[in-house]
Structures are given as C-alpha cells and as structure tokens.
C-alpha cells in the first residue's frame, strides 16, 4: 500500500512533465494539422538553457532560493520560445500550402539540426547538475518503508498546475486564445475576419515552446542529468501522451501525460524497468484500437 502510494506520487510528477510537453504537440496539431517532431528537442533546448543559467547564477553566487529558480524558469522560457518561433518561421511557414508530408519531413530535419547544434556547441557528454532542491516530507510509514514526498515533486506539481491554469485562461478567455481557436476551427475564415493567421500560428509555437521550457527546467532539476539526446525519448513519450489523450484536445494532452507517467512508473515498480517504454507504447496501441480518437478526442462530425 505504502509502496503503491509512493509510485503514485512519482508517477504523477513524471506525468506532469510529459503533460506539459504534450500540450505543445497537441496545440500545433490543432492549429496546422502537423506533428512537430522537433518539439522534443525544443524541450531539450529548454533544459539546456536552464542548466546554463543555473551554472551562471551559481558562478555569480546568486543561485539561492525560490526567486533564483523563478528567474531560471523565466530565462529558459524566453530563450526556448525564441527557438520555437524560429523553427516555425524557417522550417514550417515556407511550406504552408505545400503537400501534407512536407512540413513533417522538415520537422524531422529541424529535430536533427537542434540535436546536432546542441551536441556541437555544448559537447556530447552527459551534463550533470547537483541537486538544487533537497529535502521533503514523510507522508507515511509502513514497516521499514517510508513514503516520501520530496520538495522537488511538490515544485513540479505546483509549477505545472500554475502554468496550466494560466495557459487555460489564455486559451479560453483572451482575444489571443479566441483567435487561436478560430484558426484551429477554420483558418480561412479567421483570415476573412482580419486575423493575422501567420502571427497567430507563430504565437502558438511560442506558447508551446514556453511550456516545453518549463518541462525542460523541471526535468533538469528533478533528474539532474541531461544530454543533447534527452529530447528524443521524452518527445516520443509526450507525443504518445497527446495521442492517447486525443490529439487536438488540450485537457486530453494533460490526462495522457499523467497516464503515461503513471503506467511507466507502476510498470517499473512492479514488473521490469527495462520494459517500461514497451508498457507505455502498448497501452497506446490498445487505446487506439478501441478508441481511435484517443480518450478525449473528438469524433469529426459536424453539422453542415
């Protein structure tokens, strides 16, 4: 029981990171109908920017307390957003109106470019970071087994909830969010209402990349090691989460992320760590067989 509770805590905090990345996949899919294969690498860039800024703050002697962490988060979001914007601008926008496969191929290209860029500029070796947040609470004790809720896990859950709340408000209540939904539902019509659709799409990438930067920063702080390849598996997992939740659905992306995180954690805890990815992807395959649109996906029926 205590063991399971611990897995639940671990699974949720991992799942929230997947959820944050998955939102970026699902948003881009919703608005331009493509899978942004470079999104996992944007997450990796976010982690690297966070690492560099933490090291700079440590060198400056000011890496201390929550304010410093917030600063790191802000820097990572800003730089990563710029990367997201640039990727869309140079690799996807010129291909708009081209055949459907073109931006997908371009996205795979951007993924390789980003990985190699970081490998060349930062080196190929794994980058360690000593724990910045230690400590935690003892939730319960059962015999020898102690259920721990670490400060880091609390930080992950709280940050994700705050970021997702702001994001939800943005999409449902602001003119920008309305323009984004309009572009998603009928881009041509949005243009006919004077909406600059290219700009709206750019902003979608900027927001998606900022969320990935939050995920990257949290991932770095939690696991303490990153390399240029870390975006690949995280990206595939988050993409799986987005599809599991129903691609195009924002709540679905978060739900999918949580499920993938939980499945992976529980599988590792009770069966074998080596096969945790197989478990996550098998659940995806099963879901798609019985629910082709994912858990919260929409069946495409519309009244004409």
């Amino acid at each position: 029981m205590a063991y399971a509770l611990q897995q639940l805590i671990n699974g949720i905090s991992l799942g929230m990171i997947y959820g944050l990345i998955a939102v970026g996949y699902t948003m881009v899919y919703g608005i331009i109908g493509m899978i942004n294969f470079a999104h996992g690498d944007i997450f990796m860039v976010g982690a690297f920017v966070a690492l560099i800024s933490i090291l700079l703050l440590i060198a400056g002697g000011v890496m201390d307390g929550p304010a410093a962490l917030l600063l790191v988060l802000a820097i990572s979001m800003a730089f990563t957003a710029l990367y997201g914007w640039t990727v869309e601008r140079i690799a996807y926008r010129p291909l708009r109106g081209s055949f459907r496969l073109a931006p997908l191929i371009s996205a795979i290209g951007m993924s390789i470019v980003l990985q190699n860029f970081v490998q060349l500029s930062q080196g190929a070796r794994v980058k360690p970071l000593e724990p910045q947040l230690v400590g935690g609470f003892e939730v319960m004790r059962e015999g020898d087994f102690v259920v721990q809720l670490s400060t880091m896990q609390i930080l992950i859950v709280l940050t994700t909830l705050v970021v997702l709340a702001v994001f939800t408000w943005l999409v449902t209540k602001t003119p920008l969010g309305r323009a984004m939904r309009a572009c998603e539902q009928d881009r041509k019509m949005a243009g006919l209402l004077g909406i600059n659709t290219d700009r709206t799409i750019s902003l979608t990438f900027v927001i998606g990349a900022s969320l990935a930067a939050v995920a990257g920063t949290l991932y770095l702080l939690r696991y303490g090691v990153i390399d240029f390849y870390v975006g690949f598996l995280a990206g595939v997992k988050a993409f799986t989460a987005a599809v599991l939740g129903g691609i195009g659905s924002l709540p679905g992306a978060v739900l999918g992320g949580l499920l993938i995180g939980l499945i992976e954690t529980f599988w590792s805890a009770y069966f074998s760590v080596q096969y945790k990815d197989v478990a996550a992807f098998s659940i995806l395959a099963l879901t798609l067989i019985f629910l082709p649109t994912g858990l919260l996906g929409r069946q495409e029926v519309e009244k004409v």
Binding site: R178, A182, D186, A190, G191, G194, I195
Partner: protein, 239 residues
C-alpha cells in the same frame, strides 16, 4: 462623379489549374447594393474570395476607395473595412454564438458592445442563442450569424455570398429587409452574390450577370429583371 468604392478591372483568378474568373470588370459605388447573379459554378464565390485576396488574383486590379488592394494580405484587406459572409457560412462550430460575433470585431479593435446591441436588434434570435455553440444552430440561424459576424467589424463594404441559400422564404425576406435597412439607414455598401436572381435583383440597385467566369450583362436591377434572357435562364422559366 466620385470614384467608385470598389473597382475591379479585368480580374483573373484560378483554383489550381481551373480558371474560375476570366477577366471580370465591375464597380460598386458608395451606398449602393450591387448584385452578381449567375448559375452554380459561374465563379461568383471565387470573385468574392479573390477580392479578399484568397485566392490571390493572377491578373487584373482591385481598388478600394482609391487604394490598390490586389496584392494585399487577406487580413489587411479586411481591416480596411471589408467584411464577408462567405459561401457555406463558415461559422466556428465549437465557439458560442457570442464568441463568433466577438471574432467579427476583434481584429478591428473597436468596442464591440454598441455594435453587438445593434446586431441583436437586427437578429433577436441570435441574442436568445448567444450561449449556444455555433455548430448546433439551424441553417437559418447560422446564416444570420454569418451576416451578423460580418457586420460586427462595422464594414464600409459588405460582401454577401448567397444569404438565401437553403433558407425558408420567410427568413429570406427577413434577411433582405435587414440588408435594405442597413443600406438605407447607414449607407452600407453591399455586393451580393445570388443564385436567387428574382429576390436579388429586386433588392439591388444594379446587377451583373456572370457566366462561366465572364460578365455577360449588366444594368439596373429592375431592367435586368425585365430582360427575357434573364427570365429564361435565372428566373425558373425552364426549371
């Protein structure tokens, strides 16, 4: 004589390899209701869309109040005060009626409240349905919403694509009355595309007939109505 509000010269537009417009010239004066009638596939909707830059004209010129808008991006043209209620209505299906209406005003940056009030006065039905999702409205309600959404931008030129399509005669009369009222009380300029030639020519000051991408006839609405070839082709003589 003042320059026309909209002047289209020798417009050529195509979807892929299909040339839909083969050199169309027409003009709309300020405060006029002009209709463009023609059969299915004549190029009427393509004309309205290419005035908005989508598809971009391959040849020819579109001038709005003296400004050449032929090569302008769609959203900039619309911000100059052009609004369109397009073919197929294109209501945002997963937005409420209210959000659809607000989308109409959003890019123009004015306060939507007073325009909203006016639009609801014109179409009280939309006020009752304001919280309902656009995709669940009936055809007639969607048509009203499409026109209302176009009006939300306070346009100087309103482009209407077949507002009577698929609607009950009573609703068609309501919509015609609304268009006439806007034209008479506020001087709104309207370019109206219709298959329903009878109604359109009665409503409009002038009309053009479009046949497979070319203008074949033009004249005052009542004049065109009286022409035997129009009666035969568009007023249900043979069908």
């Amino acid at each position: 004589m003042t320059a026309p509000m909209l002047e289209v010269t020798d417009l050529v537009a195509a979807y892929g390899a299909v040339q839909a417009l083969k050199g169309v010239s027409l003009h709309v004066d300020r405060g006029e209701i002009v209709t463009l009638i023609g059969a299915n596939g004549a190029g009427k909707s393509t004309l309205l869309m290419s005035l908005c830059g989508d598809p971009r004209p391959r040849h020819g010129r579109v001038v709005l109040d003296g400004q050449d808008i032929t090569a302008m991006p769609t959203h900039e043209i619309m911000r100059l005060g052009v609004a369109q209620s397009p073919e197929g209505r294109r209501i945002f299906p997963r937005m409420s009626v209210m959000e659809n209406l607000l989308m109409g005003a959003q890019a123009l940056g004015h306060d939507p409240a007073p325009v909203l009030k006016r639009v609801f006065k014109l179409f009280p039905r939309l006020e009752e349905r304001q919280a309902q999702r656009g995709g669940t409205l009936s055809g007639g309600e969607q048509q009203m919403l499409a026109i209302a959404r176009a009006l939300m931008s306070k346009p100087r030129l309103l482009l209407l694509d077949e507002p009577s399509l698929g609607l009950a005669p009573l609703i068609v009369r309501q919509i015609c009355a609304a268009i006439r009222e806007l034209n008479e009380t506020e001087g709104l300029t309207v370019l109206l595309v219709e298959q329903n030639a009878n109604q359109a020519l009665r409503l409009a000051h002038r009309g053009y007939v479009l046949v497979t991408g070319r203008i074949t006839m033009s004249g005052r609405g009542t004049e065109l109505l009286a022409r035997p070839e129009i009666r035969d082709a568009y007023l249900g003589g043979g069908h």
